[in-house]
């Protein structure tokens, strides 16, 4: 599989068709980004008048309702690679199996969630097949001339358009929360097919010794997000109080996640999630470009920061220069009264 040897062989572009979506599942739980990609993939496949194909790998996944759900969410066909080697996830068997299927079936476009899992193995497909791989894509579009993958560059200051004219498949990893997930429609029809498994335990290079995963929060669908930064110095309780009151989710900057004050699944930004709530409340967040990139599609942004020069104010609709410790308790009290009053009149 030494990929370098045929480096100058561009792909036979015409021989490739269909849009593939990788179904990321761990122990039967499907990552939300999968459904988002099926939604976008459906659009692309319709535009090309080709099939949308979902690829599921795992152990005993055939018996779960995952293949049917993929069809209900838009897939025309579901390929299932079922083997103990695929549970828990490891880069080498996933990459090798995916590579094999790409080489045999020649998809034109492949979409993979930009999670740690997706970003871990995507290169193990793209390198041996000499495919074009665009990381962390936020826009995908088929124009009159070509397929264009767009991604933030320079920490979000610019948007780069990446094209892949001569190599196939055209692969991207896509950050969670960027596209809308279609609701399942049980009346949709599609075919489920078991594929040949080409990996075995003998060839694997890695062994998972231990895996500890709790409930994974999904902040990408939240209508209201209350996010905290280093300005809170670990005092995150008022964030949860405010989020609970407003029926929203708590989120955080990367620094806060690194401190362990808030779980990693709630990180917003370039290396975290993209959120698009109606209301984003940023508390004690400086507004670094890598953070703003993940919340810039919020409808209304409110910022609380004690430094009038914090860049977050340029990215906010309403801001208050004040200590969070003074603002939050008062804000919670006022909002509680008003919401109670609204309920009485409603």
């Amino acid at each position: 599989m030494a990929a370098g040897a045929d480096a100058d062989t561009a792909a036979d572009v015409e021989a490739h068709s269909d849009v593939w979506v990788f179904v990321e599942q761990h122990a039967g739980d499907v990552a939300g980004v999968t459904w988002e990609l099926l939604g976008k993939g459906r659009e692309l496949a319709d535009q090309k008048d080709e099939d949308l194909v979902a690829l599921v790998m795992g152990e005993a996944v055939r018996e779960t309702d995952i293949p049917e759900e993929a069809i209900a969410r838009g897939a025309d066909r579901v390929l299932v690679a079922d083997d103990p080697a695929f549970e828990p996830y490891r880069a080498d068997p996933y990459g090798e199996q995916f590579r094999h299927l790409v080489e045999v079936r020649k998809p034109d476009i492949a979409l993979i969630g930009g999670t740690h899992t997706g970003r871990d193995f995507a290169g193990r497909v793209a390198v041996p097949t000499h495919a074009g791989l665009t990381a962390d894509t936020t826009e995908l579009e088929i124009t009159d001339e070509q397929y264009e993958m767009r991604r933030p560059a320079f920490g979000g200051d610019a948007l780069a358009t990446i094209i892949c004219p001569n190599h196939r498949p055209q692969m991207s990893t896509v950050r969670p929360g960027v596209f809308d997930a279609p609701e399942p429609d049980e009346s949709q029809e599609g075919a489920v097919e078991d594929v040949e498994v080409v990996v075995g335990e003998d060839e694997t290079l890695t062994e998972v010794l231990e895996r500890e995963v709790g409930d994974v929060a999904d902040i990408t669908d939240a209508e209201i997000v209350v996010a905290g930064g280093m300005g809170l110095e670990g005092d995150v309780d008022p964030l949860w109080d405010l989020a609970d009151l407003l029926g929203g989710e708590v989120a955080a900057t990367r620094e806060v996640v690194e401190e362990g004050w808030i779980e990693p699944a709630r990180q917003v930004g370039q290396t975290g999630k993209t959120v698009r709530p109606k209301l984003y409340i940023a508390v004690g967040i400086s507004g670094a470009i890598q953070h703003v990139e993940g919340m810039d599609d919020s409808e209304t942004v409110i910022a609380i920061n004690n430094d009038a020069n914090a860049p977050i104010f340029e990215n906010a609709d309403y801001g208050i220069v004040a200590d969070y410790a003074d603002v939050l308790p008062e804000l919670i009290e006022i909002l509680r009264e008003r919401l109670d009053a609204q309920e009485v009149t409603a």
Binding site: A3, G95, H116, R119, L133, D157, I162, R211, E212, I302
Partner: protein
Amino acid sequence: MTDGWNIVVCVKQVPDADEVSIDPETGILNRADAEAVMNSPDYNAVEAALEVRDVVGGTVTAVTMGPASADEVLQVAVGMGADNAVLLTDRAFGGSDTWPTSLALARAAEELDADVVFGGEETTDSSTGQVPPGIAAHNDWAQLTYVEGLEPRPEEDRLVAKRDVEGGYERVAADLPVVVAMEFGENEPRTAGLHRKIYAETDFEPVEWSAADIGVEDEVGLAVSPTQVGGMATAEPVPREQEMVEGVEELADHIVEVL
């Protein structure tokens, strides 16, 4: 292995992320003014490489692919404690996307007979995170990404890593040779001692390899890069009210308005 591991650490020179700006009039990216620095996540990679060497023994070789001036980042790595450094520099590398970049680094790692190759989570200029898995894929080696901590097992020829996964963590054992991408911020990079720093900046000379030296002269550069940049647009700033309010009451008004 009694003589320890051959450890390679990949570091990249990038424009200082805080200084890259876009000309609001022309929309042109202003990179020239930004100081060239070592990619910040690569400090974590160098630190991890040195920590593993301190436990297992062996050598740490810093490698970068870039213009001749990129030897500055090798000096940083050597100042921190890397033993040797290799500069991959050649006009042929120009225009390389992650596919040939990871190929060149993969061949250099083979040339150095690497047991472990370290990289950072991603670069602040291209931020793909694809290069370390690309190195592993080109060489058909094991890989460990988003690594929070390491337990070297030289007696088993394996490296065990704690990896960050969605909603938790996992511990994975990988056979050598292995490529490790450290999660950004997971360790405290050491600062260079004064003497070491002076040595790195004055006496020290990195080894220089061309594309031909590692046998990739026909497999790098724009021509073999599957992806191309088709255009670069200034990200439109999202229009915001940017209204400052005086009191908490007013802030509450705006929140209730949205609800």
